[in-house]
């Protein structure tokens, strides 16, 4: 076996911290100095297996991990349903789960994940308030649904029930989130769209679509029904049976009247529906919009007056992790929040949980465009070097605070989940 000189290993990590070895050790705190020397040699043998949705499981990350941290990260990208399935039923198949908060609420009870000690997360203090107190700014009102902070903490390392405030033990370390809304084809619609109710406007008969992932689709449906004034909800993220019935009745009628062209389940499907002009208004995800636009087809992520439906994801540790692997996982999470990944994700249109570190890995123009909502000075490229936006463009919806401050509800799992799923299936079958 090849021996790795300790110095080389150290300096490699120091480069990552963006400082010389000495200062690196100082500011890098426990992450570097806390481990026994033997660790530097063993780390090479560690392989962490991560799975999650396609959005944040990119090969670039794995390559960068092996370059910066020296160990191997294996990634598997799956759709939301499969992710939930694996987190709940195949605990031995992964070390790190890259899942959304609503999935966390669903599967935490299965006991396949372990809580993380926030004192080992060096950027913990810089994580945005949404994931800690639930408030973006001290004045913010917490939106409906499964707000990330409400399922973000447990009482202790083996906690089974969620805590209502910060406890020092996190279920998921937040990594990625965004505010979702409807995507439209302005060229084919030809007039301003300002409300969720437009999804069921007969004007778009046969040209609308909604996503067929029940737990997310129901929220979009609720935004629409509420906006139409047809249904009043106590909490869109936790509907009563009656509210579910009313919502699905409205959507079933619309479906029977031929309102929808198709339902989509995967990212690519939504891009194809929009790009081909089969659909002109539909639920959509941010990078899908940019994917359509990068084909030269106009597509807008339309801010709507009722606000956004938001989602957040993070990394959870498998309950099976211990010893060296567990340390490596912490190291990996610290690396994740250190800015490189955040910058990468933000340049795709998502937000990083620690924007202040991501800023170091973005140009001023990129930061201005994606985060501050300023007009682009030059062409804005995605992390893969493709031009996404021309100079002068402003991000749909504006700045981080404009967008994340206007969240109306979070993706959620309801108490009546089983009932809701059945009703959703009936809607699809109708």
């Amino acid at each position: 076996m090849k021996k790795i000189p300790l110095k080389a290993a150290l300096s490699r990590r120091s480069v990552l911290k963006g400082a010389a070895a000495v200062t690196g050790a100082a500011i890098g705190s426990g992450a570097i100095t806390g481990f026994p020397t033997i660790w530097a040699q063993n780390i090479k043998n560690v392989t962490l297996r991560q799975f999650g949705t396609g959005v944040s499981n990119l090969n670039e990350f794995a390559a960068k991990v092996s370059e910066d941290l020296g160990f191997t990260l294996e990634m598997t990208a799956l759709d939301s349903d499969s992710v939930t399935q694996r987190a709940a039923t195949q605990p031995k198949s992964f070390d790190i789960a890259d899942i959304e908060y609503w999935i966390c609420k669903k599967v935490w009870g299965a006991g396949n994940l372990q809580a993380m000690d926030t004192s080992k997360i060096k950027n913990y203090d810089k994580i945005v308030g949404i994931f800690k107190s639930g408030k973006l700014t001290p004045e913010s009102v917490i939106a409906q649904g499964t707000a990330p902070h409400s399922v973000g903490f447990v009482d202790g390392p083996n906690g089974k029930s969620f805590a209502s405030s910060e406890t020092g033990w996190m279920t998921l370390i937040p990594t990625i989130y965004n505010a979702d809304t409807l995507g439209i084809r302005p060229d084919l619609i030809g007039r301003p769209i300002s409300t969720w109710a437009e999804l069921l406007n007969p004007e778009f008969k046969g040209k609308a679509s909604i996503l067929d992932i029940s737990s997310i689709g129901i929220m979009d449906a609720a935004m629409v029904c509420e906006s139409m004034g047809e249904v009043t909800y106590g909490d869109k993220g936790n509907m009563t049976k009656e509210e579910i019935d009313k919502t699905m009745a409205i959507f079933t009628d619309a479906k029977k009247a031929g309102q929808f062209r198709a339902f989509w389940k995967s990212f690519d499907e939504s891009v194809n529906l929009m790009a081909s002009g089969e659909v002109v208004i539909q639920s959509m995800w941010s990078p899908a919009i940019t994917a359509v636009r990068s084909k030269g087809i106009p597509c807008v992520y339309q801010p709507l007056k009722e606000g956004y439906r938001s989602w957040g994801g993070g990394l959870g540790l498998s309950a099976n992790l211990s010893g060296l692997e567990l340390e490596a996982a912490y190291e990996y999470i610290n690396w994740y929040l250190d800015g490189w990944v955040g910058g990468f994700l933000m340049r795709q249109g998502y937000y990083s949980a620690v924007p202040s570190t991501s800023k170091n890995y973005m140009s001023e123009d990129e930061w201005g465009f994606w985060f501050e909502g300023k007009p682009a000075q030059g062409d804005i490229k995605n992390p893969f070097g493709k031009v996404m936006e021309k100079a002068g463009t402003i991000r749909d919806g504006g700045s981080f605070y404009d967008r994340m401050g206007a969240v109306a509800c979070w993706n959620a799992v309801m108490d009546e989940n089983k009932y809701m799923v059945r009703k959703w299936n009936e809607f699809i079958a109708a």
Partner: protein, 292 residues
Amino acid sequence: MSVEGRKRPFFTAEQVSWILVAPLLIILLFFLFLPMLTLIQVSFWDYNEWTFFPAFIFDNYVYIFTSNVTFATYWKTIQLTLWTWFFCTVIGFTVAYFLAFHVRSLTWQIALFLLCTIPFWTSNIIRMISWIPFLGRNGIANSALLEVGLIDAPLEWLLFSDFAVVLAFVHLFTLFMVVPVFNTMMRIDKSLIEAARDAGASGFRILIEVILPLAKPGIMIGSIFVVTLVMGDFITVRFMSGGQSTSVGRVISNEIALLQYPAAAANAVVLLATVTLIIAVMVRYVDIRKEL
């Protein structure tokens, strides 16, 4: 041989039969009967958001038999099956008839038969998905029809409709009809046809009264393939209907995705019973053993 003749055989004839049948029996036991028993067992279990656990409840079945969705889905699935079966049979029979009776040389028969299998060199999914850009609102079919002036506005029902689903099914499954029908037709004694002709039968009467009855076992085997494939499908229906249509397979796949394994198992048991029933009825009409 002479050695065996003198010695008493080590095993009795019955034992030999058991030994010969054992490998198949073991495989079926482990890979068919055991999973099926598990399936039936799990269908009575209960579940929550993240797991399922032993219980003995009838809820899963009660829901299936009381929900309107079940009726709607089965009705839709059977409609799709009937249409697909109809077109697969007509096209499959015609192709097989052409190959067996119009193409005279064996070389050409084999060559053309292999030609039929070429689409199978690519995956099912790709063959299915390639219809989407073709049939779309701005797809090739619509643009061509508009160009020729046959239509004024794009035909919306070409894609994301039951038409699209049946079209894809027929495209995917016709070969499963061609092969067994071709096989039975090749075995028809040509002298029977000559005799019919000598007796003054027209080509059409020969087809109806000689070839069709003799090809029936092949048609039935092909039908079993087509019916079981369509009844169990979940992906074609989803893609070609744009998620708007549903089939029993899709319901099961949705339930699995949502971790509702007991519900999915109960649905699978009901589907299995339905398909078995359909096939039992089908084989009553034709003795396919003659064929095997």
